[in-house]
Amino acid sequence: MSSSNQKITPFHGGLHLDGHKQVSTQTPIASIPVPQYLHIPVPHNSEVTATVGEHVLRGQALTTSSNSMTPAIHASSSGTVRAIEMHAVVNRSGQLLDCISIETDGNDKSIEPLAALKPSADNKQECLDRLRECGIVGLGGAGFPTAIKVATDKSIDTLIINAVECEPYITCDDMLMQEQASRVINGAETLASIVSAKEVLIGIEDNKPEAIKAMQAAASNAERGKIVIVPTIYPSGGEKQLIQLLTGKEVPSGGLPADLGVVCVNTATATASYDALHQGLALTERIITVTGAGVKKPGNYLTRLGTPISKLLDFAETDHKVYQQLRMGGPLMGIPVKDTSSPVVKITNCILAEAAQPQHAEQPCIRCGDCVRVCPAKLLPQQLYWFTRATEFEKAEDHGLFDCIECGCCDYVCPSNIPLVDYYRHAKFEANNIKSERIRSDRARIRFEQREQRLERKAEEKAALRAAKLKKLKEREEAKAAQQEGTQDNKQDEIAAALARVKAKKEKTND
């Protein structure tokens, strides 16, 4: 089944950008050789099970987590664990993270794949466990655990495969579809079975004719799976935006796609899910686009997770003198790479070498309203900016701060060069911080009041005790006094008796 007569509902705003995609789609996907060292970051709230000196095989889990939803991470080739220590990674904070460093042995030996699992309505839990066990997360950039996404118990009508890839320069999903369309369709089928979706819509931007052709051919044999061509406009690959494009439904603020009967998963995530269930393979590699200024062999590279970014750049023959900055991801949402020894991770879809751009200083907002016109989340970006500057984070929240998808459209058009998204990141953090501090302070208030009450109660109990003791003392004194009186009477009796006895004696003697 494959047609494209699906009705398209446009979303608000967005940008028409130059895609720069042809540069990296000229050559087939190539494999990067396994590097000597792999550095695999330990995810948050996970415990490392591998030990230094241990020999590990490809696909072997290195962590566990008490949180049943945290996906595992795996050795992406065979070798020896050399260190578990802080290592540079790509993140906005520039903070180092705990990484497991493996010195590879060149044999690339794998563990036995897990038994194939055919998803059906009856073994959903088993399938979710498998996805988590195999470390499957969203490969489009968000890294959200796929098991959580498909765990929904809501009834799902539509599974959407997000094959839009709307951000300029990035072509890894495009090439995956061109070369392995049937795997993508299999992946879609796998996930559709897990969530029992009635229909599968695969959204692809109209700037990928090769991929569309390949996918249509592959989908024609499939049970479910309808290719829907969407116009090229950034950010049509945003989850909420794509859902609106394909279904006409708007995910409400704070709501989830599942509330609308929709689950939306990225292309490469779908194939990785297929590998996990049907082949029993953990996620240990992904396709990464390497492109941009100074990259002499731009293209897509199948890369083991944990490979240092420098290896990719070298393999793509990058002239380090040409570019000014490296980014992990695309030009709008990508994270600057500060240290090229940082490893590629599950969410690394692209390494972009950016040429020097003219830098403009930030100017005051002139209220032109351009940002409002392009915001796909229908927010008032300049208003969020003002609230942030005024430290009115809760007001920003009331104005939809958390609906901002950080797409960067507002940044892009702002004539005053205001780094708006940086303001929103700051505001989101502060707003969350206020919330968590409030929870803490509410607890402190209760504990303070409880203590006050306890102290008061203690004081009152003490007063009661004192009163009781005083009363007892008084009673005792009274009793004593009464007794004393009694003894006196006795004594007098005794004296009287004695006197009587003496008197009687005397009388006797006198007789």
Binding site: W386, E392, E394, H426, A444, R445, F448, R451, A468, K472
Partner: protein
């Protein structure tokens, strides 16, 4: 002896009932303004505002006896929230009362020095320190408000201030350093 015990127990019971009864009967309805102000205060209970806790300060603000900029732990965020609530102009923190620290702090008891005197326990407004007499004391990080009231009473100076570990580890996305502009023109 038995009589005394029974007498005491029954007395305690009677007083308890009496207390409970009066508490219900003469319950002071919480003043909503004070409640609202109190809800915005950080509940550090440190007394830097010169009042013996956040609620007394909230009461003083409600009665017009205290200004809104006397709480260092709350800092600017609290002042802005108070100014919004009360419809008054926000102003900078009055530094007579102290300075605002961006990263919240807690205290730790150096357990090898602690002599188990219980003085800090008595000083803590939120019962965040555990330990009996002659036993080493420990601060429950989750509950410590960082008010530092336990520090002066300690006879062996074994209580130290540290950045709250859970807060210090998280990265704060910084505010971009933009040009200084006027107020919100809206």
């Amino acid at each position: 002896m038995l009589v005394a015990v029974i007498a005491l127990v029954s007395l305690a019971g009677i007083f308890g009932l009496l207390l409970g009864f009066t508490a219900l009967k003469f319950k002071v309805e919480g003043d909503p303004v004070i409640d609202q102000i109190d809800a915005l205060l950080p509940q550090t209970q440190c007394g830097q505002c010169t009042y013996p806790g956040c609620r007394p300060y909230a009461t003083a603000i409600a009665n017009g006896e205290a200004d809104i900029n006397q709480c260092p732990p709350g800092g600017e965020v609290t002042i802005v929230a108070l100014s919004d609530l009360l419809g008054v102009e926000a102003k900078p923190l009055n530094d007579d009362h102290g300075t605002h620290e961006d990263i919240p702090t807690v205290v730790i008891v150096q357990e090898d020095i602690c002599i188990g005197c219980t003085l800090c326990i008595q000083a803590c407004p939120v019962d965040a320190i555990i330990g009996g007499a002659k036993q080493i004391h420990t601060v429950i990080e989750k509950e410590c408000t960082g008010c530092n009231l336990c520090i002066p009473p300690c006879p062996v100076d074994c209580i130290d201030i540290i950045p709250r570990p859970t807060a210090a580890a998280i990265w704060h996305p910084p505010l971009p350093g933009g040009p200084v502009t006027g107020a919100n023109p809206s």
